[in-house]
């Protein structure tokens, strides 16, 4: 009986998280459109509901009802599986994210590593989508994406090692507890910079949105997708943004923990920090042009990689000296 209860509770939690995530993602798109619109001196969505508040729902409905086109010469099975392969890892990762001190689906000892491992699978969906579409633009987009995500995964992985060494645990809750005095961003500024850049590249956000650079590759790997399948890619991108933002908050900004003198619940702190992160993402998209492929690789391997290695050695050395 205990086990059944446990499973039921877990299922309810998963249900809540997944649905809330979908809804929040939809509204993040709305917020993004609004923020960018105001950066560009226009209004953004205004027609559906008050100030366009119902726009995401209308968009979702539209995508549901759209004709689903599968190209004739595509590899049908892979083509259909690809969007699923993108979205599922993005959602699975939510299993270990700490939303507050008490609200999380599960805690595992290798939480951080779990996130890295599962989110590294997202690239499969993209590669599959690009290949199965049987279109040159899609293929080029997928190739770019595979190379980009593989490379930046390495920097992402190395950049989290610094905070990890300070916390001494891969359990996300314990990392949060380790920062109750000082946020790790003050100990690990280099790691944070590398983490943030790599996170942008991992989520294919501007200025690293080459895989879907619409002006060169039409829409990159999802050129041939339409309807709900396209929506899956879209949802996955934003779901991934949430994941990397949350990981960033947990590793560098004390997670759901806030300063003691402002008595706010942990979840509120989390949402506040998340909003700041998301705003920065959107802000950068409104401001920056796009990198070129070889420049992206050069930035990664010649600048970020040495930086993050130095950071690891430095952290180890200082930790040995002072702690």
């Amino acid at each position: 009986m205990d086990m059944a209860l446990e499973i039921a509770v877990a299922a309810i939690k998963i249900f809540i998280v997944v649905n809330v995530v979908q809804l929040v993602v939809a509204y993040t798109i709305y917020v993004e459109r609004k923020v960018i619109a105001h950066a560009q001196m226009r209004l953004g969505p205004m027609r559906v509901g008050w100030h366009g508040l119902l726009q995401p729902i209308a968009d979702g409905l539209k995508l549901f009802l759209k004709e689903d086109i599968i190209p004739d010469k595509s590899d049908r099975i892979v083509f259909v599986l690809a969007p699923v392969m993108v979205l599922v890892p993005a959602l699975v990762v939510y299993a270990v994210l700490p939303f507050s001190a008490t609200f999380y689906i599960t805690q595992i000892n290798i939480g951080l590593f779990f996130i890295l491992a599962i989110s590294s699978l997202g690239v499969f969906g993209i590669v599959m989508a690009g290949w199965a579409s049987n279109s040159k633009y899609s293929l080029l987009g997928a190739l770019r994406s595979a190379a980009q995500m593989l490379s930046y995964e390495i920097f992402l992985g190395f950049s989290v090692i610094g905070p990890l060494m300070l916390a001494g645990s891969m359990n996300l809750q314990e990392i949060v507890h380790a920062q109750s005095d000082v946020w790790f961003v003050f100990y690990q500024p280099i790691a944070f910079i590398v983490f943030f850049i790599a996170a942008m590249a991992e989520t294919n956000r501007a200025p690293f949105d080459l895989p879907e650079a619409e002006t060169e590759l039409v829409a990159g790997f999802h050129t041939e997708y339409s309807g709900m399948k396209f929506a899956f890619f879209f949802l996955a991108e934003y779901a991934n943004m949430f994941v990397v933002s949350t990981v960033g908050i947990v590793l560098f900004f004390g997670g759901w923990d806030g300063p003691d003198f402002i008595p706010l619940p942990g979840f509120v702190w989390y949402v506040l920090k998340l909003s700041v992160f998301m705003f920065v993402f959107i802000w950068l998209r409104a401001t920056l042009p796009r990198y070129r492929y070889d420049q992206l690789m050069r930035v990664g391997w010649k600048f970020m990689f040495p930086l993050v290695m130095i950071n690891i050695f430095l952290t180890g050395f200082l930790k040995y000296l002072f702690l």
Partner: protein, 169 residues
Amino acid sequence: MELYFFYMFAGGMILTSLLMITRANVIHAALLLVLTFFFLAGVFVLAGAEFLAAVQILLYAGGIMVLYLFSIMLMNVEVAVRMRQWHRQGAVVLVAAVLLGLEIWAVLGDVEFAKPKQWEWSLGATPGNVEALGAVLYTKFLFPFEVASILLLAAMIGAIVLAKRRIER
């Protein structure tokens, strides 16, 4: 419960690896290999080696297989599908398989499968098996570990040299 999961994972592994070697389409084969890795990771989790499971997914599925796919995608798969799929070397394979079977039996023949061998460190006592793994790697297996890393370094340098020569030519 655990046994049930074990059979699920093990069966999945056998099924996907069989499917993998019989596919004509290389991309399908590669994707099935990824699935195999998944099931393998599941077996690792059951054995209590969560860290190893994560490494399995992160490195093999998320890293190496993507590189495989990357290079496969640049090939003309349609042409490859039409090419001959069998090497007609059944006899050699049979001999090799028998030899391998004998070898496995010789090495593992006396291990009792029903009772998994107890590990030297106890599971659950440490907050994770990362520390345990690290301790073992850097003490007992330090030499093989360093040899492996030097081997990898050599391979990396070799790859760079080869690729560079290609570009210059």
